[in-house]
Symmetry: C2
Subunit: 684 residues, 2 copies
């Protein structure tokens, strides 16, 4: 087809809106929107199916702006197509509590699929969205019922192309042959440091070819709308590979500073704004103007999308008659609720049961619930046998042509790519039909920190199965033994960090993780065996903290998590028998969940008037919030058999008793206030 | 040349030592050493120059085992060539406090250049070592004095090849045309999840070609010693590109389980150990046996290395006569000491000086000291203008052929690659002649967490210039506003986290960062302007914490860091004028340095008997160690002008005063103990 005046007008409207919004905010990035307006116009108006009136329609095409700093591009498109993003919202760009924050946030803006801005994340999210689409299609589509056949499109810039997380994700996408994924690379040769020739001279398309992608190059992304259309059309036809289209554009197209770093991260100067508007046939004195014919054209496309959804709804209804169970399952998944009674499958343990490593207890949970929670889709960053993340009859998620799995498979081989695993999980979660979990060693969740942060910001229900959670991993040594990791993620808002002490606590961790629709969880699990404890029940543990050993006239409260709970229970005996001292024990598997309990309950667990000592074999930072004194490891660990390592650092009943006695002595004659009692409430 | 019996014997000796050590430890990874013994033999015995008696000789070739789990390979080589690694050390593989920990640690084992194991890090360290070599050569070599011309070799496996950090570093190395870097890719098709076909099917050599590397493939890495030699020789000749040699090997070569995942991370079974030894002509009943002719051959090569060093020492002495200043400079750099009197160049400020953002104050330090501290080599992950990391007349470190810098340049364009920037800095530091610093936003230091951890484990003097350190960055919003980041790195052992409040504190941070030879530093710096404070001096601030406003009869101590110090000073006035309350103020720019002061000093700063409130606009986790009550932000931030964001979250004199009053009220009638007074000393 050919393009004409209206197309150019629409493109320039997008550009001018971006110019106006960044100018008014006196902040933001006009360059990318001005450069990518042409491809956006072609993609959104010619190819993408979506219904602005229902941004959550399952079979919509997904769009991810990985170069999220260019968000005025996305906000302009959302407004023009009729999403609930008004001109006033655009005027409030980058203002407090607006719908148009400085980077796209999925929870703030209708039509934004995932939260982007930290570079490379969106690209990897898009891979996750495409995986979820393929898996959902294979699970639910039936002959005559192509319920799920959407594409995932992503824009990314040089910054994303350089980031390791995107490189990892691109390699995974190539391996997985995700034909439903189309990435458009904004090759504008500019990053914040100016011309990319200073740091980035690789052949990007050749790299993607090496990953197994289909590659195309549109050399004039500023004007060649036909070329853009042809490339996207071709990419849609390629079903056995993800596609990348390198689109050479001029950043800040139309500005006096076009093609330079000057237009990347700063609004245009006033005279430049006016000149741009004049050049594009807009009134230089007017702001936030949208020609009616642009609205009309875009609303027409939106109405076609709405009609497609209406058709789809009928199809889905008909599907429900023929495939009742599948219809119910998919509907339930979309509601975010788990199947009724699923929790009855959670394993429970008696104190007489064998000692088991919590990574194995986690495996037992997955083994027990994977049938009743079919939206669970797991994987590991190449540590399957160590993380125990794969249930026994799992099928790999793989392109069927490889002969080692299929699209309906629920086990993903992420490779040694922790960061992209996490970012891909965020994308899978955002699709709406699956709950992803992924394994690595706790220490290497740090490699994924950028993406874990976005799980939390985005309210993603994803589960990090983080095994080998301490010096207890033993011989691999300090480079693999986490010290700072729990403190790191405990300080991250909206993230639950669980460190269960035994089987019931592990089941409780999964219970809360799976029923918390808007919060990611990190499960810190041991390599070594843990005994089943007396007072540990799912009911106790889901409170985040509880009394594991009560002693009404105790001289001290000992707090611990995970592998140290049984150790402090052993210490109670040591203290009683050798020192005539009475101790009580609190297990605190999850700070964040404990904090959410009533003050009354928390004070019953950590009462006033009794000194307390916490024990955890890693950084003590943050434990001061719950205990008066802390025994931990504020140094790196050591390579050796795990019992030797514990002994070296005095994590033995004797070593703990020594510090408990020092604590009792220190507080003698005082009635220390419980750390739960505070002067004022924190902002949350 | 041709290879014969002795070569094969040496190769098999390496294999058998790895089999024995992992068997005795009942832990470890025999597969990679058995597969890579042939290339190790050729590389170490035919090409590498080193003197085992002086592992720190400047012009030695560097070797990095990026697949660090295969460390028995390296330990065996170090032993055989005569480094101070004995057979007893090999027998104590993976035992507590041995010289042969589970992964190579630079501080534990003579001859280990960098700490590896966390995958991808070593590869990126090697890029750093190669950068440092090129820069040092360009700075010090003179006609007739090729003082520095060593190569950097690295082995890496599939795991490293998949990790984003290595992908980023490979792209950088290609751009920089590092002809002195030779990477050998152990293409054994096995990772922990088994055959790499489940997750990793890209064309690795093509990818490296796309980065601009010279690529070769040796198809039979198990037997083709001539081919290996020819490939390495060719790679050494390629001066304008880094080289990668893909070496197809059989993991666990010689074992019954060779070529499978079974031999990757587990010792061989006893019968397999015996069979391997028998196959290789060793006595199956003997352990840790080294044929004398292998020692003789390797010691001969070591002696040649010692002779090379002796020649080099003469050359360097002669150089000293001709190039006195350069000789003195290089000698001093190698000692790790800074030039005498350098600290006099540090900027100082008076309270009447203008308010300046601490990122600009950091720039002023770099501007002032870069001439007197010539070993400083800086850069940024594509945020040069925002991080203010480049002094005004800086020259880029670039291949001269690009026309935008030269090898002696001291400013590195890392691109949008935070993780590899950090890992490359670790490598630069390990070379021994340079002190690297690198900039990004504080929030994106998290992308580099894996490498920052290794800076700390490895005792690397590297400096992270982490700007835009809080919600004070404003409009970019929650995805860019750190909340958990300071807690994360405060919990990391051997890492200084500085958050200076003004100019003198910024100079103090640099003073301690640069004079701490074995500790990395993170400098958290503001985007927004900060006033110069009354009591702030370099002398005060280098204690990590000091009294910024004293008031003998104060009702409360207010603690803060960075941008919040001036805010709590404003609050003192608010409290006095509106509430008749007297407050004192403590600035605590660095927890770790404050912790190292005498208890007497710390108690003078945070005395008993007075309640305290800390104020920092991010997670409060960890502040309980210094204050009774905490005001912070245990939620994500907001996008808006920075003053609006501060106001939204009540970080104003009024908001702080409200909480100060609540604190005073809560502790009324009590004499709270200083948080400095503790029941027992922590293990450090």
């Amino acid at each position: 087809m050919t393009y004409g005046h209206l197309d150019q007008l629409a493109i320039n409207t997008i550009r001018v809106l971006a110019v106006d919004a960044t100018f008014k905010a006196n902040s933001g990035h006009p360059g990318a929107p001005m450069g990518m307006a042409p491809v956006s116009h072609v993609l959104f108006n010619k190819f993408m199916k979506f219904n602005p009136k229902n941004p959550k329609w399952l079979n919509r095409d997904r769009f991810v702006l990985s170069n999220g700093h260019g968000c005025m591009l996305q906000y302009a498109l959302l407004h023009l197509f009729g999403y609930d993003v008004t001109i006033k919202d655009l005027e409030e760009f980058r203002k407090i509590d607006s719908r148009t924050p400085g980077h796209p946030e999925a929870n703030d803006t209708p039509g934004v699929e995932v939260t982007t801005g930290p570079l490379g994340q969106g690209f990897a999210n898009a891979v996750g969205l495409a995986i979820a689409q393929a898996n959902t299609a294979a699970t639910f589509n039936k002959p005559g019922y192509n319920l799920v056949d959407n594409y995932t499109y992503t824009f990314f810039g040089d910054g994303c192309a350089m980031e390791g997380v995107a490189c990892e994700a691109a390699s995974t996408a190539g391996h997985l042959q995700l034909g439903n994924l189309i990435a458009i690379y904004d090759d504008n040769h500019i990053s914040i440091d100016g011309d990319t020739k200073v740091a980035f001279t690789e052949d990007v398309l050749k790299r993607f070819e090496a990953y197994g992608w289909h590659t195309q190059w549109v050399k004039d992304g500023d004007h060649d709308l036909e070329g853009i259309e042809a490339a996207i059309a071709k990419a849609r036809e390629v079903k056995d590979k993800p596609s990348v289209i390198k689109l050479t554009t001029t950043i800040g197209f139309g500005s006096k500073l076009q093609g330079t770093g000057g237009v990347h991260g700063n609004p245009l100067k006033e005279d430049d704004c006016k000149a741009v508007k004049a050049k594009f046939g807009f009134d230089p004195e007017q702001f936030f103007v949208v020609p009616q014919e642009v609205y009309d054209s875009y609303h027409k496309h939106a109405a076609e999308g709405a009609a497609l959804e209406a058709e789809w709804n009928q199809l889905f209804e008909k599907y429900g008659k023929e495939y009742k169970a599948e219809h119910a399952d998919l509907s339930r998944r979309l509601s975010g609720l788990l199947p009724e009674g699923w929790e009855k499958k959670l394993p429970t343990y008696k104190p007489t049961d064998a000692a088991i490593a919590s990574r194995k207890l986690s495996e037992a949970v997955l083994e027990a619930i994977h049938d009743v929670v079919p939206e669970l889709i797991g994987g590991s960053a190449d540590l399957t046998g160590s993380n125990n993340t794969r249930w026994s009859n799992a099928v790999d998620f793989q392109p069927p042509v490889l002969g080692i799995g299929d699209w309906a498979g629920r086990y993903i081989r992420y490779g040694v790519r922790e960061h992209s695993m996490a970012a891909i999980m965020n994308g899978i979660c955002a699709y709406g039909t699956l709950i992803p979990f992924g394994g690595t060693f706790l220490n290497f969740v740090s490699y994924a920190a950028g993406a874990v942060r976005l799980s939390a910001i985005s309210h993603d229900r994803v589960i990090y199965v983080a095994t080998h959670d301490s010096i207890g991993l033993g011989e691999d040594g300090p480079t693999h033994q986490p010290i700072e990791t729990l403190a790191h993620f405990r300080a991250l808002p909206n993230c639950m960090v669980w460190r269960p002490a035994d089987g019931n606590e592990t089941s409780a961790a999964y219970y809360i993780a799976l029923t918390s629709k808007h919060t990611p969880s990190i499960l810190a699990l041991t390599r070594q065996n843990l005994p089943q404890l007396e007072n540990s029940t799912i009911e106790n543990a889901i409170k985040g903290g509880y009394v594991a050993v009560e002693n009404p006239n105790a001289d001290i409260t000992l707090l611990a998590t995970g592998s140290e709970v049984s150790l402090v229970i052993d210490t109670v005996k040591e203290l009683k028998e050798k020192h005539g001292v009475t101790a009580r024990v609190v297990s605190l598997p999850c700070f964040e969940v404990f904090d959410a309990q009533s003050k009354e309950y928390r004070l019953s667990v950590l009462p006033d008037g009794i000194p307390s000592l916490s024990v955890e074999v890693m950084s003590t930072l943050g434990w001061e919030r719950y205990s008066h004194e802390q025994f931990g490891l504020n140094r790196f660990g050591a390579s050796g058999a795990y019992k030797d390592v514990y002994k070296k650092f005095e994590f033995t009943p004797e070593g703990i008793a020594k510090r408990a006695l020092a604590t009792i002595d220190f507080y003698k004659g005082t009635k220390p206030r419980s750390p739960i009692n505070r002067a004022f409430q924190q902002l949350i």
